[in-house]
């Protein structure tokens, strides 16, 4: 499963409280290199919280998280390193409205990876081609459709050449016809061997692409398994109920 001996992401007994509300109650899982893991679960079950803990947008209070062998602690160096290796795509795109599409993409390579402008712009154009919108390079995010914006957001994350990509419901703010554009890009990404954790309600995507599906509820992983197992033969009552509601 792994190329150099250790799994890509290790999550061990992670607990997280917001005030006195416990959002994660001991989550343990491992994501191997090149794995695509889809996380599903009802609203408020802690899916977003979990993946936001992985790149330290939220701070977990108990347990261990390690990415590519680097442990997430209060250590500035580790935090920086992990953020450089983990890309994230948000539900609401979060593109920078005052920068053009290309500038959005080259910002981090220039200031974090210390690339030259020409180098990063070339790379950026390649990524835009990969997500299928090279002609939009000089527009501002406000001028693009939702699907195009989300593809720019993906390109922007890829520009940092991350080892892991996190997706938090990347398609739920989109109209149906735009969802496909984005999912296609994600599929292509998965095929190219990127390690991905995807929170989504797109069951088709999960079936087709995922190596593993996690079902979360009340801040824990209730059930996990391969898509076939998961969709055809769920074990847990909660899972069955959930699947019966959404399928």
């Amino acid at each position: 499963m792994s190329d150099n001996g250790h799994p890509m992401i290790v999550v061990e007994g992670v607990k997280k409280w917001f005030g006195d509300f416990q959002a994660l109650r001991g989550v343990t899982t491992t994501v191997g290199q090149r794995d695509v893991v889809v996380v599903i679960g009802p609203s408020g079950s802690g899916k977003s919280t979990l993946i936001r803990c992985i790149n330290r947008l939220e701070v977990h209070q108990e347990g261990r998280i390690a990415v590519d062998g680097i442990e997430l602690t209060n250590d500035l160096r580790n935090i920086d390193a992990i953020r450089r290796e983990v890309g994230m795509v948000f539900q609401s795109f979060n593109l920078f409205p005052h920068l053009t599409v290309l500038e959005n993409i080259t910002l981090a390579p220039i200031w974090v990876r210390k690339q030259t402008r020409t180098e990063s712009e070339e790379n950026g154009m390649q990524l835009l081609e990969r997500v299928g919108i090279p002609e939009q390079a000089d527009k501002y995010p406000g001028q693009l459709s939702g699907g195009q914006q989300q593809r720019v957001a993906i390109a922007r994350s890829l520009a940092m050449s991350p080892k892991v990509m996190l997706f938090d419901e990347p398609t739920s703010a989109l109209d149906p016809e735009m969802i496909k554009e984005v999912l296609d890009v994600m599929k292509e990404l998965a095929l190219s061997g990127m390690t991905m954790i995807v929170v989504t309600h797109e069951m088709g995507f999960a079936r087709e692409v995922a190596d593993r599906v996690l079902f979360m509820d009340y801040g824990t992983i209730v059930e996990e398994g391969t898509p076939e197992h998961f969709f055809t033969n769920p074990q847990h009552d909660r899972t069955k109920l959930f699947l019966s509601q959404i399928l």
Partner: protein, 686 residues
């Protein structure tokens, strides 16, 4: 992905029904609707009554204005004769070209910027001609007001105004004719075009050009009152020393505009903009310190090669500082970095104590602090294994040391340079990177050092101008300087305060909140007293600034609190997702703030910031209270105090009248422009 509909269905437009005829209109209907409107008789009557009352108020005001302005007792020559005094105070006549040059630079920069930023607003002919029509009516009414006065002798029109104006029939006729012409032209045009005029528009810039042409025409032809003996006045032409330069300046502005049009064809707009920003930044000190001040520069002293001559300091700081900054911005040079950290640390330890040999009266703390800093550097250099971390820490330590140096008694210039160095050193690791960025940073640093050194050299230099007042700046010139400096200097402080107040770190938040709230609760005038009387108290012995500098400092302290509150509004309006996206991409807090958050925040609150610029322009008048000779003080006290060669005693009310109109024109124009801009941003809408 481009699946827009390909064909357009024809015929839809023809099939649309015609809108019903517009409701009938006409003057009488207009009057009924707008002056006598109402549902019932009672409301109609009430509305009519209101109309009469307010019409009387309006008539009285107009009558007051005309009879005040055209009264023989007014001595408008007090205004025209003292125009120069009010604009630039006692600026020597022979050096007046310096003022014209400054205005010229401003005009040229404005013209070029208009091109570079592509600001070509359009004004619809509808708005324009309606404005002209109304202005024409106003002018005609003003002249007719005289008739109202005459009529009030027979008819029971209650007029509370002062006496009938003198015989101004010539002027009156002229004004009436102009008004009539404006009204008639605009009216005919509107008649002919109707609503269609709404779709036609002319560029603003050509309007401005026409305006400048008209002004030129007027200043060459019009006669203004000129004192003639002690109490009489005649009409005379405006001095050619005024008309000539204005004409040339207008021509230059227009020429500069076309030059810009040509330039933009061969230079990339972005590049032009970058250069213009730099030019704008430079123009401000250059105008104030060089052009208008005419400093006497002792080139021998400045260019001497020694450890405390300006050139020496410039070389020292730009070379050593540049090297340090270059290194701080270096991405990967771990072993070297460690070595340098250790070396600098050792140097600090060694030099910390001996520094006292160079400077008499070193505060006792400096030695130990330098030692501590050195120890910290060595420890850091040996222990830390990541380059950026070292750079960050060294940057901060250097910054602290540089800030501390402020309190070491030594030439002011050196302190200033150290302070500047502190800021650049902290920023360097965050914004370093490729060879190109590094070189840029060093270039920026050298430019900053040059600016600081030049500012100090120029500030220290005596001026070659001979003037009778205490400063070379006075009158409206001073007001403008105060307004611009107050805003420009308060801006960086305001940004820092706003960031601190919205920070997640409670101590920063507390300090910033305390600053903002305390500063805002105390009126500006007390801050001006603070500036003019108290600031020197807090400065290390022997350092003193010109009063204007102190006042600018006080104004900046005050403005910063308001700027901070405005920017805070912008910061709070920014989606949390923007911060998250920034950190998810690995940007540090400083980087996301500077590159993502701040630009958006400032853009969001630009209208509010413009509003506070207007306020601070009005507030510059307060310096009259502490005795700085701004345009208000001159108009209110200096001019009415003149008895020789002409007697202007007793002209104070009319000077105040004039100054009120003068300020009004500027603020009104400015706020209208701001409003337009705000609307174009779509922010004015709810």
């Amino acid at each position: 992905m481009t699946d827009q509909p390909q064909g357009i269905v024809h015929g839809v437009i023809e099939e649309l029904e015609k809108a019903p005829d517009p409701p009938p209109s006409g003057p009488w209907i207009w009057v009924q609707e707008n002056l006598l409107g109402g549902d019932t008789r009672l409301t109609k009557f009430f509305n009519g009554l209101l109309t009469v009352v307010f019409a009387l108020i309006a008539v009285n005001i107009l009558q007051f204005l005309t009879s005040y302005i055209f009264n023989p007792e007014r001595r408008w020559s007090a205004v025209t004769f003292n125009m120069k005094l009010m604009m630039v105070q006692a600026f020597p006549q022979a050096d007046l070209f310096r003022i014209w040059l400054s205005i010229g630079i401003f005009f040229v920069l404005v013209a070029l910027s208009l091109v570079a930023w592509g600001l070509r607003g359009q004004m619809s002919l509808w708005t324009l001609s309606r404005g002209l029509r109304n202005a024409g009516v106003f002018l005609m009414l003003m002249t007719v007001m005289h008739g109202a006065f005459e009529a009030s002798k027979i008819l029971p029109i209650p007029l509370f105004s002062i006496d009938s104006p003198a015989d101004w029939s010539g002027t009156r006729l002229l004004i009436f004719v102009i008004g009539l012409a404006m009204f008639a032209g605009a009216f005919m045009y509107l008649r002919r075009e109707g609503i269609a005029a709404k779709d036609k528009s002319i560029p603003f810039l050509s309007l401005i050009a026409v305006g400048m042409g008209l002004v030129t025409l007027v200043i060459w032809t019009i006669d203004l009152p000129i004192p003639d003996g002690q109490f009489d006045e005649t009409l005379g032409p405006i001095a050619t020393s005024t008309t000539g330069p204005w004409t040339i300046l207008f021509a230059v502005a227009i020429a500069a505009y076309f030059f810009g049009r040509w330039l933009i064809g061969i230079v990339e707009p972005a590049r032009l903009r970058r250069w213009l920003v730099i030019l704008w930044l430079f123009s401000y000190p250059v105008i104030i310190m060089v052009i208008q001040r005419k400093p006497i520069l002792e080139w021998g002293d400045i260019l001497a090669i020694s450890k405390d001559s300006p050139l020496g300091l410039f070389l020292l700081f730009s070379v050593i500082g540049g090297a340090v900054i270059w290194w701080l911005a270096l991405p990967d040079s771990l072993p070297v970095g460690r070595g340098i950290a250790v070396a600098i640390g050792a140097l600090l330890i060694l030099a910390g104590w001996p520094l006292e040999f160079f400077f008499d009266e070193m505060p006792a703390l400096v030695g130990p602090i330098a030692t501590l800093a050195g120890v910290a550097l060595i420890a850091g250099g040996l222990m830390i294994h990541d380059r950026v971390e070292i750079a960050r820490i060294i940057g901060s330590v250097l910054a602290i040391v540089a800030l501390l140096v402020w309190f070491v008694p030594m030439p002011f210039l050196v302190r200033g340079l150290f302070i500047t160095f502190a800021f650049v050193a902290v920023a360097a690791p965050s914004f370093g990177g490729t060879a190109q960025t590094r070189n840029n940073m060093v270039a920026v640093w050298v430019a900053i050092v040059f600016l600081v050194v030049a500012t100090f050299v120029l500030g220290e230099a005596e001026t070659a101008l001979e003037f009778q007042s205490t400063t070379f700046l006075g009158g409206f010139n001073l007001s403008i300087l105060l307004a611009i400096s107050g805003v420009a200097l308060s801006f960086p402080l305001g940004v820092v305060l706003a960031l601190a107040r919205t920070s997640s770190m409670p101590i920063f938040r507390l300090l910033a909140t305390a600053y903002i709230e305390i500063v805002r609760s105390v009126p500006l005038i007390t801050w001006l007293f603070f500036g003019s009387v108290m600031i020197s108290l807090f400065l290390p012995g022997g350092i003193s600034f010109d009063e204007i500098v102190r006042v600018v400092a006080a104004v900046s302290i005050f403005n910063a609190a308001y700027v901070a509150e405005n920017i805070r509004g912008g910061l709070q309006s920014i989606n949390k997702g923007q911060y998250e996206a920034g950190s998810a991409m690995g940007l540090s807090t400083v980087q996301s703030t500077a590159l993502i958050i701040m630009p958006q925040a400032i853009r969001a609150v630009l209208p509010a910031l413009v509003g506070s610029v207007i306020v601070s322009f009005k507030d510059t008048s307060l310096v009259a209270i502490i005795g700085l000779a701004d345009v208000l003080l001159i108009a209110k006290s200096f001019v009415p105090g003149q008895t020789n060669p002409h007697n202007f005693l007793g002209t104070q009310p009319q000077m105040l009248f004039f100054i009120a109109i003068f300020y009004w024109m500027f603020t009104f124009t400015f706020s209208r422009m701001a409003l337009r801009y705000e609307k174009s941003l779509g922010l004015g809408e709810r």
